[in-house]
């Protein structure tokens, strides 16, 4: 029913996400193409950023809550698993539920007061939490490792390829979960809230409860990303909680197209893969990166996804034209 429901938006989504199905299988094939662990690493990080961005998109894109402190959930679960793994030598598998729990709890703590706020107030409050937490971390250097952080985490699995598949599965799993959410009645409510909260309330729906739920869900997925990230990079440090980190999902979502899950893939591609491959012009890398963002935001405001769809449609129509001409 959800398919029939979200007219015309979700129908479009359905069509397009079919197309992304192809993309999915292409990604599955990567290990047969290359065995360069460096490329794997870049790809893994790419996937983790996708997860992170999707988790932000849920509240930022669909609900219109611009959280600028999303690194908090990311970083906290990373720190949790790091502490458990390095100090207590617990294996990642055991830490996983704990670190997710941790980020869920913090998400609840943050969300409870913030969901009542609006617009930029909310932005700033969400932004403030990570800073405070970082300060707390620095207050106990021997436990949280202050500016050096915690290093020497055990790796996720034996080989990079397995890591890659873990990240891959996590990403697409979460993608489909979120897609389910968005195409369900809840998704409708989310879009409605973004569109006009008064109307939703006058339908007798407790918007702040929904917001709270979504915030926690989002925090949870951010936590997943953080957990994996910690075990891939094998060092956890305060920069995981910094403004820069909180900006990442926002950047990714806006580049890819805000409020579109598949868009995050393109955004993340710019932020990780392209950014990484810009190392050849290292001196100007950041500059180019920022300019790229500017160009996209100023000239491609709808986000890459939209234009890529456009190109696909364009090509599609061309092909159809050709085949017709043949007949």
């Amino acid at each position: 029913m959800s398919g029939k429901l979200g007219i015309p938006l979700s129908q479009k989504m359905k069509k397009i996400s079919k197309r992304w199905g192809v993309l999915l299988f292409l990604q599955l094939g990567i290990p047969f193409v290359t065995d360069n662990p460096y490329y794997y690493k870049v790809l893994i990080i790419f996937y983790l950023y996708v997860i992170f961005a999707m988790s932000w998109d849920l509240i930022g894109g669909y609900l219109g809550i611009g959280s600028f402190g999303h690194a908090l959930f990311f970083g906290l679960s990373a720190y949790t698993t790091a502490i458990l793994n390095v100090k207590l030598h617990w294996p990642p598998l055991v830490n996983f539920p704990l670190s997710i729990l941790c980020s869920v709890i913090i998400a609840f703590i943050v969300a409870k007061p913030t969901v009542r706020l609006k617009g930029h107030y909310l932005t700033l409050v969400t932004f403030a939490f990570p800073v405070i937490v970082t300060n707390i971390f620095f207050a106990f250097p021997d436990f949280f490792g202050a500016d050096i952080g915690i290093s020497g985490l055990s790796r996720l699995s034996r080989s990079r390829v397995v890591d890659f598949y873990i990240a891959f599965c996590a990403t697409w799993g979460i993608y489909f979960i979120l897609r389910g959410v968005i195409h369900s009645d809840t998704g409708l409510i989310l879009r409605a809230i973004q569109s006009n909260e008064a109307a939703v309330i006058s339908c007798g729906i407790d918007t702040s409860r929904i917001k709270l739920k979504m915030f926690i869900l989002s925090g949870m997925f951010a936590g997943v990303a953080g957990f994996l990230y910690a075990h891939v990079i094998k060092i956890v440090e305060p920069s995981n909680l910094e403004v820069h980190m909180s900006m990442q999902p926002v950047v990714i979502c806006i580049l890819g197209g805000i409020g579109t899950l598949t868009g995050t893939f393109f955004g993340a591609m710019i932020v990780t893969i392209v950014n990484e491959s810009l190392r050849v012009v290292e001196q100007y890398r950041n500059l180019i990166f920022y300019l790229l963002i500017l160009v996209i935001v100023l000239f491609l405001p709808k986000g890459l996804k939209w234009y890529i769809d456009g190109v696909f449609h364009f090509l599609g129509s061309k092909l159809r034209g050709v085949t017709l001409a043949r007949k």
Partner: protein
């Protein structure tokens, strides 16, 4: 005129008051709405009609006084909770989700109220009642205000309420649309109690059976449409109101 003669009070306001800083938007309002009745609230601009609605439906917090619904105190409840109690409302400026289609808007109101499998037909049913089936799949941004008002009414109905508060349903509509809407309202009032605010007495008076007149935040007069029509004081207020 009505089958049940024992008139049960549905909604009651006791000494309701709302102050914005210094000025009193409404001041000690006492009013009762009987079950199954059809009430009109009139009054010049700034006489506190909308404020009264906002306070009753929990969008504003009352400075003084209480609101009772079926003998239960509802003042202080959050707006959505009051809706779930069974009081739906519409707004002066229609509050629909502009980025969603009419269908989705109505669907929104049906969620959690009926099993998923019948939501679709429910939606269509309410659309039929409100006479907007034709444009179910257009985005709310693209439909004229008349449709928005109907959509809003449909949404209000979809929350299966006992009481609907309509805030200036006729404003901004052509006479034709007004008659149409009035017909729709008449259609639904069999099951549902209605309270209507409006200036367009021409359309309001025929459908209501009791009228409250507000002036400067106080309940000024209360009686049948005929009495209101006869009362010279009200004429004066109204005209005065217009000129002021």
């Amino acid at each position: 005129m009505r089958e049940n003669n024992i008139k049960k009070t549905l909604l009651a306001a006791r000494g309701l008051a709302k102050h914005f800083g210094g000025l009193a938007a409404i001041e000690d309002i006492h009013m009762e709405v009987e079950k199954g009745s059809m009430i009109g609230i009139i009054g010049p601009n700034g006489s506190g009609k909308t404020t009264l609605f906002n306070v009753m439906t929990g969008y504003l917090k009352a400075t003084r006084g209480e609101v009772f619904y079926e003998g239960e105190k509802i003042s202080g409840m959050r707006p959505f909770a009051i809706v779930n109690k069974g009081i739906a409302r519409t707004f002066q400026v229609p509050q629909c989700c502009k980025q969603l289609t009419i269908r989705e808007n109505i669907h929104l109101a049906c969620i959690h109220r009926c099993p998923k499998n019948i939501i679709e037909e429910k939606t269509r049913e309410f659309a039929r009642i409100a006479k907007i089936e034709s444009s179910l799949d257009t985005l709310a941004t693209n439909v004229p205000i008349g449709y928005l008002r109907k959509t809003e009414l449909a949404m209000a109905l979809a929350t299966n309420p006992q009481l609907i508060l309509l805030d200036e349903p006729f404003s901004g509509l052509t006479d034709l649309e007004c008659y149409e809407l009035a017909a729709i309202i008449k259609g639904v009032r069999e099951k549902i109690t209605l309270v209507v605010i409006d200036h367009k007495l021409k359309h309001l008076m025929p459908i209501v059976e009791k009228v409250f007149v507000l002036n400067e935040g106080r309940l000024f007069f209360e009686g049948s449409p005929e009495e209101v029509a006869r009362n010279p004081e009200i004429q004066r207020i109204y005209i005065g109101g217009e000129i002021k």
